[in-house]
């Protein structure tokens, strides 16, 4: 077994043993149940209203699909936020904490590369985040489908992009964690995430008001940290055409280009390489 996979398995096992998985599982299920209860009543209301008020069955169906989709996007937005929070929590304490406690010393003096430690942890977190995103987002989509029969378009692409956003945040956290203490790492990551969030809003309003400067500000923030643009692309892929015109944080008006998605991917890889480099160079 390679050193990377040993470390990846250790990381996975740590999350299970330290009850992080259990906490994530319980809260994730609670989240999906809450969403289901809420939407149960809302979807029922929508069905009744549209049947009563819409001029034709077709119009009623369109209206129903649109509003169902809007609520699902809201749920997915919340799920994305929770996944990002989980990504930051997983990554923040990992290297910083083990350097601080000295746990890393017996590991790093084994005949393995320091890169193996970083990459192993990264892969372990990718597995954990995959399960978490699948639980949360999958739960929302499944619940919506069972209640209303609605399946969003481009579902896999959308979920893939949400997953990628959580991986991106986790990778940034891992990089910071190789240089800074856990608390500072968490603070910086949430700061960056907030920056991306505000930048995303500015860009959205810019698109609605057709203000070029605002759009440029948004794109610039996306270049600094492309997390929010991944969500907005995911929303664009999964939302119904009308939903996109609402202008809300849960949906997308200004669509990040495929080029931006490609940029995010390259960004992620570069951050990972930097994480490895920092960890290779630092004193433990």
């Amino acid at each position: 077994m390679s050193a990377i996979s040993i470390i990846a398995r250790l990381t996975f096992r740590e999350a299970i043993r330290r009850r992080l998985m259990l906490a994530g599982l319980v809260l994730g299920i609670a989240f999906v149940i809450l969403y289901s209860i809420g939407t149960h009543f809302i979807f029922g209301q929508i069905a009744a209203d549209t049947a009563a008020n819409m001029p034709s069955q077709m119009a009623a169906n369109i209206m129903k699909a649109e509003s169902t989709n809007a609520f699902m996007m809201m749920g997915l937005y919340a799920a994305t936020f929770l996944s990002v929070a989980m990504a930051a929590l997983l990554g923040a304490d990992t290297l910083a904490g083990e350097i601080n406690s000295g746990t890393i010393q017996t590991i790093a003096t084994k005949p393995i590369r320091r890169a193996d430690i970083v990459l192993g942890k990264w892969l372990g977190f990718i597995e954990l985040l995959g399960l978490y995103v699948l639980l949360l987002c999958g739960g929302i989509v499944l619940s919506t489908f069972i209640q209303s029969g609605h399946i969003p378009q481009n579902l896999l692409i959308g979920l893939g992009l949400i997953y990628m956003e959580s991986i991106l945040i986790m990778t940034i956290t891992l990089m910071l964690s190789s240089a800074f203490p856990a608390l500072a790492t968490g603070g910086i990551v949430f700061g960056l995430y907030g920056l991306a969030f505000i930048g995303g809003w500015v860009e959205q309003f810019g698109a609605i008001l057709q203000n070029d400067t605002a759009i440029k500000v948004g794109i610039t923030t996306s270049l600094i940290i492309p997390s929010e643009s991944l969500w907005r692309r995911a929303a664009f892929e999964m939302q119904t055409p009308l939903t996109g015109t609402f202008g809300s944080p849960f949906t997308t008006t200004s669509v990040p280009s495929l080029l931006m998605i490609g940029y995010a991917f390259v960004y992620l890889i570069v951050i990972l390489v930097i994480a490895v480099r920092i960890f290779q160079k630092r004193d433990l």
Partner: protein, 304 residues
């Protein structure tokens, strides 16, 4: 055969503070080497540099004939850190398996070795208990087992007996003797001079990150003996005459203290005193303890 450890002017500077100024030392294969010095002398930093945890600012070092950081060499090295912190959510069994896997050990060999070592450090009944339930002494024992998994050619032990009760300390001492008998080189960092005294072949005193003295402990008994002679009726001239056998001769009431090169001169000293008509009541040779030498070497202020 290459030295187990060889360093040349190894130096580490943190900001504008030189934690290790220029460490030059050789540790021979198969010896138990003690690394002594006052707090803050740079012992742990030096050890971490040798293990590749900290990169030196300048200088060179080799372990088992390979430059530090070489993975081939690290396959044959064991390490028990000070302030041992391990993955406390693992059981002792899993903990040892993990470290064996990282060492690239074969599964069968690893399992056998793990059982052997758990038995040796007296933890066999606790193999399936999580480390978080372990006492400090038990953690130290499992840490020692971890350091010996790969039957290392060279083991670094940083304060291995700190926090241990006398039984645990005896165990560590016995284990050190056993692995030494198998040809393993041991690099021991400890504050407990009495421990060092009974376990080590050679010691290096370091101060401000430099070796100030290297001492063979086997020769300690001979060339560092102080003698207290209870004697009366000894004239000043006769007292001076003692200088042919020893140095630092001092009279303190009815006692005369001196340091002699070897206790083989004691019969001669006795004959001399009798021939000078002195009344000799007792002659007590005191081997100078490592503690005496330590304080003599680094000074009473610990080199602050």
């Amino acid at each position: 055969m290459a030295d187990a450890i060889e360093t040349h002017l190894l130096r580490k500077v943190f900001g504008d503070y030189a934690a290790v100024k220029g460490l030059t030392l050789q540790v021979r294969q198969g010896e138990v080497f003690g690394f002594l010095g006052p707090n803050g002398a740079g012992k742990t930093t030096s050890m971490k540099m040798l293990l590749g945890l900290i990169s030196p600012t300048s200088g060179e070092a080799a372990l088992l004939g390979k430059l530090i950081g070489n993975r081939e060499a690290m396959r044959r090295v064991g390490f028990l850190p000070e302030h041992f912190r391990f993955q406390e959510w693992l059981t002792a069994d899993e903990f040892l398996l993990l470290h064996g896997q990282l060492l690239g050990m074969k599964k069968d060999d690893l399992q056998q070795r793990r059982n052997e070592l758990l038995e040796r450090v007296g933890l066999t009944p606790f193999g399936n208990k999580q480390l978080r339930t372990f006492s400090k002494g038990m953690l130290q024992r499992v840490g020692l087992a971890q350091a010996l998994l790969n039957r290392p050619a060279l083991v670094f032990l940083d304060e291995p007996t700190s926090g241990l009760d006398p039984v645990g300390r005896r165990l560590v001492r016995d284990v050190i003797r056993e692995v030494r008998a198998q040809g393993t080189t041991i690099f021991l960092n400890s504050h407990l001079l009495s421990e060092i005294e009974v376990t080590c072949d050679r010691v290096a005193f370091i101060q401000h990150g430099e070796v100030v003295r290297v001492l063979e402990l086997a020769s300690l008994a001979n060339d560092q003996t102080s003698v207290a002679i209870r004697v009366s009726n000894l004239g000043a001239e006769s007292l001076n005459g003692l200088s042919q056998w020893g140095r630092e001769i001092q009279r303190d009431g009815e006692f005369v203290h001196m340091i002699i090169a070897s206790d083989t001169v004691l019969p001669e000293v006795t004959r001399y005193l009798v021939s000078q008509d002195a009344e000799v009541y007792s002659i007590t040779p005191n081997r100078m303890s490592l503690e005496d030498i330590f304080i003599e070497t680094v000074g009473k202020d610990g080199g602050l």
